[in-house]
């Protein structure tokens, strides 16, 4: 098996806010292999975005601290990089797309200009110094705009973000993220702000482009259904911890963790849409400054045992490629 693209090991992130200190990530381990799409699922506030931002080095320095862990990319620990070194990594080695494309694009520049920036950075970093407006750059911009399916790319280049629909803007974001052919793309809820039809289109686009460019993806979403359409492997997160990790088929056919089960139960399966009511998981995500001791999920768990309130379960492998953090599956 070839070397993984990204290896996150024992990563913890702590935020200091006026409400107190809270652990956004607790000793997280994630491995992403080449050309693999990992879906990271969880309710909002569980720390999935934090993980992505930590990889990119974009956590707010003033109140985010990383007390432990390493993020290994291309053999080096990203956490030891200086700002300038991280700048070099971003965009060309690892890129990221975000949830709300309107506010995520600079409103004062045409999308042609913004794409040109990415292309220019890519060319500059591979040793060619080109002008931002040069014909070479423009040609590539045009090419990418066609690849992401933007109609009439020539005139679209001269338009501003607010002149496009959400779906089209997201296509632009995807182009910007993949034009430099990074090894890894982080996608933070890219479809959550889009309507269902557009969602499907965007997911298909990402899937095809990513395999063309041979990039890996960390696809973050709160929606298991979305993740199911695109991921090879799925990791389920709760309150800063990974509670289960398996291939996408395994997760759906053989979910082990009570939280995963609850997630699956709470969205309608296609055939049963008319019959099933949406059942939401009772209780709410804990306030992360006051995570209960032991397993963070135990207050909402239907299978809770005494030991759950004192000991935090560890992520253990139950079968090939399937890991769970739950006392139910601990071998005696």
């Amino acid at each position: 098996m070839s070397q993984p693209v990204l290896e996150v090991h024992d990563l913890s992130v702590v935020f200091e806010t006026f409400e107190g200190r809270y652990s956004a990530l607790n000793n997280i381990d994630v491995t992403i292999n080449p050309s693999e799409v990992i879906g990271l699922v969880g309710e909002s506030g569980c720390g999935k975005s934090t993980l992505a931002l930590a990889v990119m080095g974009l956590l707010p320095r003033s109140h985010a601290k990383i007390p432990s862990g390493s993020i290994t990319f291309k053999g080096k620990n990203l956490l030891s990089y200086t700002d300038k070194e991280m700048e070099q990594v971003r965009g060309t080695d690892i890129s990221m797309i975000f949830q709300e494309p309107l506010t995520s694009l600079d409103p004062l520049f045409t999308i042609g200009d913004q794409l040109s920036e990415t292309i220019q950075i890519k060319l500059q970093r591979s040793g060619q110094s080109v002008g931002w407006n040069s014909r070479k750059v423009k040609a590539e911009v045009l090419d990418w705009m066609k690849r992401v399916g933007l109609a009439d790319p020539q005139s679209a280049m001269e338009r501003y973000p607010h002149e496009f629909s959400g779906g089209m803007r997201q296509r632009v974001m995807i182009a910007m993220a993949l034009a430099a052919e990074p090894k890894l793309m982080l996608a933070d809820e890219p479809t959550s702000a889009l309507d269902v039809t557009t969602q499907v289109q965007i997911l298909r686009l990402v899937k095809s482009l990513v395999s063309q460019v041979k990039a890996s993806v960390l696809f973050i979403s709160h929606d298991l259904a979305v993740v199911a359409q695109i991921a090879d492997r799925v990791a389920v997160m709760y309150a800063g911890m990974i509670v289960e990790e398996a291939s996408v088929n395994e997760i759906f056919e053989n979910p082990l963790h009570p939280y995963t089960n609850a997630l699956l139960a709470s969205f309608p399966k296609e055939k049963e849409v008319k019959k099933t009511k949406l059942t939401s998981i009772p209780g709410t995500v804990p306030n992360l400054t006051r995570i209960p001791p032991g397993c963070p999920f135990h207050p909402r768990c239907s299978f809770v045992k005494d030991v759950c309130s004192t000991t935090r379960p560890e992520l253990r492998e139950t079968s090939a490629g399937h890991r769970v953090a739950c006392v139910l599956y601990d071998k005696p």
Partner: protein, 343 residues
């Protein structure tokens, strides 16, 4: 960056129409004040020792016996013909005096605005990018001082320190030293005219005389500008698109100076017309203290002796200035921010 002409032109046209409307309103208000708010205008204008014949003449001339709207009509006609009344204190037609003094005020105001932009914007940017640092504190001190200072204090202190104690600048008031002749008039702005005619001594003298009063004037709004730029920059720096830009791998420099700066210019440009208003108001005091022969000093001298026609003329001119500044700011804004053109 593409600016699509048609959208911009329509935008400008609409703004001009609105501006004319505002101007009209202002003229009506000044008219109202001068005619209706005072019980017996003719008597007031004729002065305390006027004869009944003089008062009657004034009444006929200004149609004071007619209904309001008729009076307003004649008032407008007069205004448009350049008849803005005669100043009782100087005996000169208001319009002539103001036209004579206008270039000086223009020069001073433009200089003040330029200073504000040149100092205020960098100060604000540095304060934002080095939040809570030394520059940030400096910015706060400057802005607080500027906002709380009565205009005469800054002017007098500057005079005291630079004229009298440090002897850095020539101590004659006015726009030029006594022995320097003004340059040939092209724009009326001595600094510009002397450059255009290659008149070096005049340029130096004009500049020397311009520095202190324009700085005193700029001081009032410098702080406001830097604070606004700081706030806008901070907002821009924590925005989603800056996050994307960083994720794209742009250097910090590019993120700040190419993107964040441009995005933070919206509010300062909008505020610029407000600052022009403050500047024009402040010129009344500053010009007096520095003996700068402008419209502001004209107004101050007129106010002292309760000379209403002169002060009203000043009001109309200054309002025109603000309206123009507003228009210019709106156009500039539409050029900077493509979203504005759609409205």
């Amino acid at each position: 960056m593409v600016v699509r002409p048609r959208g911009l032109l329509i935008f400008i046209a609409r703004r001009i129409v609105l501006s004319v409307g505002v101007l009209f309103g202002v003229i009506f208000v000044t008219f109202f004040i001068s005619r209706v708010a005072i019980p017996d205008p003719a008597r007031v204008w004729a002065g305390p020792r006027a004869s009944p014949a003089a008062i009657a003449a004034l009444t006929a001339r200004f149609h004071l016996a007619d209904p309001i709207l008729v009076q307003f009509y004649y008032y407008l006609v007069d205004l448009l013909h350049g008849d803005w009344g005669v100043s009782p204190s100087s005996g000169q037609p208001v319009f002539t005096s103001i036209s004579t003094y206008l270039p000086a005020t223009l020069e001073l105001t433009i200089a003040a605005i330029i200073l504000t932009i040149l100092i205020g914007i960098p100060l604000g940017v540095l304060a934002a990018t080095n939040k809570d640092g030394a520059v940030d504190h400096l910015c706060r001190v400057v802005s607080l001082s500027g906002v709380a200072s009565p205009p005469f204090l800054a002017a007098l202190l500057l005079q005291l320190i630079f004229f009298y104690y440090l002897k850095l600048f020539p101590d004659s008031g006015g726009r030029l030293s006594l022995f320097v002749a003004p340059p040939t008039t092209i724009t009326g702005l001595y600094t510009v005219d002397s450059i255009l005619t290659g008149n070096w001594p005049a340029f130096v003298s004009a500049l020397q005389h311009l520095i202190l009063p324009s700085f005193a004037l700029a001081f009032l709004i410098l702080g406001l500008m830097s604070r606004l730029v700081r706030a806008s920059m901070l907002e821009a720096l924590t925005s989603d698109y800056v996050r994307t830009l960083k994720a794209k791998g742009l250097t910090r420099r590019l993120v700040i100076y190419k993107h964040a700066l441009r995005n933070s210019m919206t509010q300062p440009v909008t505020a610029l017309s407000l600052y022009v208003a403050y500047t024009l108001g402040g010129s009344v005091v500053i010009e007096s203290i520095f003996s700068w022969p402008g419209v502001g000093r004209y107004a101050a001298q007129a106010a002292q002796v309760f000379d209403l026609p002169a002060v009203m003329g000043t009001t109309i001119v200054f309002t025109l200035g603000v309206v123009f500044a507003n228009l210019a700011a709106d156009i500039l804004l539409a050029v900077i921010d493509p979203r504005i053109r759609l409205r």
